[in-house]
Subunit: 245 residues, 2 copies
DNA sequence: CCCGTACAGATTGTCAACAATCTGCAATAG
DNA sequence: CTATTGCAGATTGTTGACAATCTGTACGGG
């Protein structure tokens, strides 16, 4: 047996999903307005759920909401992508560290994480860059969930939903990514978490973010990455122990 | 002249605000259900705006939403408070660091931050612990806003809204806080940002969070703070430069 | 006596109509 | 000719009614 939960998504979530898809296939583009009535008519529902769905996207930062003036698709810049990755770098390290303070290797969820990593090896997934990116983010999300800090994982998940849209909308090319290297990094990451080797986990996650952003920057015309990751995240510059007591 | 913006809050925001206030004065308590129709009747509006307001609180983590089953006030634990402060510690450091990479001392907003700090010295504010806490968080919010990273400040602001409610609901006592010391720390923090002395800013913010949490832990019966801030945030344990290149 | 089912009340989800607000354009005054 | 004002259309905000779903209780079979 083992059934899927019956209704996966509520109507507003479905609406939000549809709009995200429209962004990914280019039907909707930055600057476009979202008219509640039009979307409602198109999807065959009333304005209520559509309104809620749009608010969901607003909270996510995918659309800008202005009172009495409706919703407009955001026009993200490469700096937005950088901000998202700064968030993911920092909160990812928090999540990993806290996960390793628990006995996470023996948790049943840990097996799921490994399953999701295996999916990245599927040639069919590797075929489609978007699919690959989504599978990658899905893996990362499951890994971070192990820490059990719901606010932190909520923020991480939010950024994860933004990434594919931003990449698409900004026209970032990421076709020539080295899948083998990516999987190798993730393998090291997961192994570090299992054995609770914090230095390795820290290293692997930093490296992954650095590589991903570097890859994006390569495919993107005018990227200004310096001063973001190289000029350190500040907490790292100065020795932590200086501040004890 | 110079008028205030005419309508400050939308109806849903007003509803959310009212519910927060009800939590702060004890009218609403953890585990209580929020019935849309009841609240609507009480506030003299229809269910629509009330529904939206409740969703706002849901996104904030103040209520738990379950499909078709309504909203229930969360029953936070002290660990929730710790998670919030871990987030604030980490993201605060990011925000400060990025603010100092800009020429922030000459920005007009910087003067506002100093004004908000001055408010903490007002004896009338110091009288009321809740007022003091809100003024403090307001100051911090303005300070972090200087970094110009909207996603990061959005998360910080969200946690700031949670804190007073969590403290009240958990029955945390914080009456005997040393106001002078708090202001002194903030003064050092603001000075460090102005002079772009990153080590000092880093130190001051860490210390503030550590003191605040320590204060809460003192007034709270069974607090388990160890292993959260002392077992480091991970990024700090290992030298950053080890990973360069 | 225990378990599963059927119902009734309560509550959320959805809808379509109405009111309030905004935007752009045209008319008007200076 | 430029700037302000007033309007019409478009769109969001709000409302009350209706539909779908959930919760708890009472009933009936085992």
């Amino acid at each position: 047996m083992s059934f899927e939960p019956l209704h996966g998504l509520s109507t507003p979530e479905l609406v939000a999903q549809r709009i995200r898809e429209a962004l990914l296939d280019g039907t909707l583009r930055p600057g476009d307005r979202l008219i509640e009535a039009d979307i409602a008519a198109e999807l065959g529902v009333s304005r209520g759920p559509v309104r809620e769905g749009i608010r969901l996207l607003g909270a996510e930062g995918l659309v800008v909401l202005r009172r009495n003036r409706g919703a407009v698709i955001t026009s993200p810049t490469f700096e937005d992508v950088l901000e998202v990755y700064i968030l993911r770098l920092s909160l990812g390290l928090l999540a990993l560290n806290h996960a390793m303070q628990l006995d996470v290797a023996s948790a049943p969820e840990f097996a799921d994480v490994e399953l999701l990593l295996a999916r990245l090896r599927d040639p069919e997934v590797q075929e489609d860059p978007l699919l690959m990116m989504e599978a990658d983010l899905h893996f990362q999300s499951a890994l971070f969930d192990l820490c059990g800090l719901s606010r932190i994982t909520a923020v991480l998940d939010q950024t994860a939903r933004d990434i594919p849209v931003f990449v698409k909308v900004l026209g970032i090319t990421y076709d020539d990514v080295d899948h083998a290297a990516l999987i190798e990094r993730h393998q090291r990451l997961i192994e570090a978490v299992r054995t609770r080797h914090r230095a390795d986990a820290d290293h692997a996650w930093r490296e992954h973010v650095r590589c991903t952003v570097g890859e994006f920057a390569r495919g993107y015309p005018d990227a200004q990455v310096e001063g973001i990751f190289d000029l350190p995240l500040m907490h790292h510059v100065y020795d932590h122990h200086e501040y004890q007591g």
